[in-house]
């Protein structure tokens, strides 16, 4: 587990369409860690993951993955993008959806040999989705499709998992199931996990450290080190108060719960759940 550094950012400057996202940010994530990536909307959580994948080159500084410069087609990194609504209507079976990823970069007809089939079964087994995989995607719930996306990310035995907002649009019950599943995989496979989310509370039991992004800066540390008034005030560029209630943490600006607000804005259209109140996060 203490196999050194998994991801290292060295004075990294990242911009997207002329807008500065990260401003000379440095941090090191150790192999085997469970990192929760948090921050307001547009803080650069997805951009950071795309940079680790080599899809976005830094304007300055360097990004290393297992001490090698980050580049495309790294087998060491598995990636679960944010769920796309376009896949929800597909009448393809879950098995075929996952199998499409196995050797997907190679030319040829999409048939699968014994090794590829075994890989599909392996990743489906890891996320407990063998039964789901027989049904078409259009008949699965959001949480069930989420499992298949996670299975896709595990194809090729990556040593780092980048999970972009897996909890979005999931109710609290399903959200905690996903966190438990990912934590189990992290331990079982001894892999590094970067898990971005709008809210800290669902991740509290699983994460080792928090990477909090905001205002072009980043703070990496334990919850006690990072989730404090002074650190978050710097990252939000506003006066922030951190309130702890019954083991839960609320990040408040004046009277507003910022993480809950961000979550509500994000999920408003998805489910008009009564009471996505701070008490439920």
């Amino acid at each position: 587990m203490t196999a050194g550094n998994a991801i290292r950012f060295d004075r990294v400057q990242l911009s997207l369409a002329g807008r500065s996202i990260l401003n000379r940010v440095s941090f090191t994530i150790r192999a085997g860690e469970f990192i929760g990536i948090l921050g307001p909307n547009g803080a650069g959580k997805t951009t950071l993951m795309r940079a680790v994948l080599g899809l976005l080159a830094p304007q300055h500084g360097k990004i290393e993955v297992f001490n090698q410069p980050a580049k495309r087609s790294q087998t060491a990194v598995g990636y679960m993008p944010q769920m796309r609504s376009t896949n929800a209507g597909l009448r393809l079976s879950g098995w075929d959806f996952v199998a499409g990823v196995v050797n997907g970069h190679r030319l040829g007809w999409p048939s699968h040999g014994p090794a590829a089939r075994a890989e599909v079964e392996r990743v489906l087994g890891l996320v407990g989705a063998q039964a789901l995989a027989r049904r078409p995607l259009s008949q699965l719930s959001g949480g069930e499709r989420q499992r298949l996306l996670l299975a896709q990310a595990l194809v090729g035995q990556p040593r780092i998992l980048l999970l972009d907002e897996p909890l979005i649009s999931l109710d609290p019950h399903h959200a905690s199931a996903v966190v438990e599943l990912v934590q189990g995989l992290q331990r079982q496979l001894a892999i590094t996990v970067l898990f971005s989310a709008h809210e800290l509370n669902p991740l509290l039991g699983a994460l080792d450290r928090v990477l909090y992004l905001g205002c072009g800066e980043a703070a990496l540390g334990t919850v006690e080190e990072v989730i404090t008034g002074p650190v978050l005030s710097r990252l939000y560029g506003a006066d922030i108060e951190v309130v702890r209630v019954n083991g839960r943490i609320f990040v408040m600006s004046g009277q507003h719960d910022l993480q809950g607000d961000a979550h509500r804005r994000e999920s408003e259209s998805r489910h008009a759940l009564a009471g996505t109140h701070p008490a439920h996060v």
């Binding site: 899809l55 495309r72 597909l90 009448r91 990823v101 997907g104 970069h105 040829g108």
Partner: protein, 272 residues
Amino acid sequence: MFEYDFMRNAFAAASMVALVAGGVGYFLVLRSQTFAGHALAHIGFTGATGAALLGLSPLWGLVLMTLAGGVGMGLIGERLAQRDVTIGLVLALALGFGLLFLHFYTSAATQANALLFGNVLAVDVTTVWTLVGLGTLCLAALAVISRPLLFASLQPELAEAKGVSLRLYSVLFLAIVALATAECAQIVGVLLVFTLMVGPAAAAQRLTTRVGRGILLSAMLALLAAWLGLILAFYTDWPCSFWIAALSATIYSLSSLSSFRLWRRWSVMSES
């Protein structure tokens, strides 16, 4: 009916085109790019009438124009190419130009009719061989790129991260669609390309959840529509394109009904 040369040619041409349309159509429906296919056919109309005006072969005018349109759409990028308004305006403009070319091309009436609605019974041997050549090229190209194309269609962000160029496969695929569209236009005309390329493929995706079976089934259903259409046209003397359009719609409706029943049966089983 096979004692007639024109029926033999028609069957040969329709069979080749149906196989291509079914295979290409499966990916077109999967990628939600059916409207792009429709637009390419309209752009092709301009190419065909323009070529006729210049005294060249309409088929090659059609092929070149759809190919240019397909590659152009791919280069512009998926997001833009999927915008209904952009595509709609481009295809309306293309049809406008097609009409202008017809206006200058005096012996236009039958030519226009054949281009718009197809005239499979008038296909000659040379055209059959051209269609077989182009069709084989289409199927071969599709077979070569189908695996990364599927990956890029199902999970673009992940595919990109694994080194699959989304732009490249978008361009290659739309070039294949362009050729397939030009082929279809020879059988059912530019206005009815949907009947061979989208109807059977959409039905296949309702009937099976597996990729390989889906592609095969799509090709078989397109073949069924083409053959039955020809047979019905022979015995009724109604236009073949009408029959293919009617059969394509029927196949799709039946597939919707049957998948609904299967789903009901499945959900009853899982509840008990």
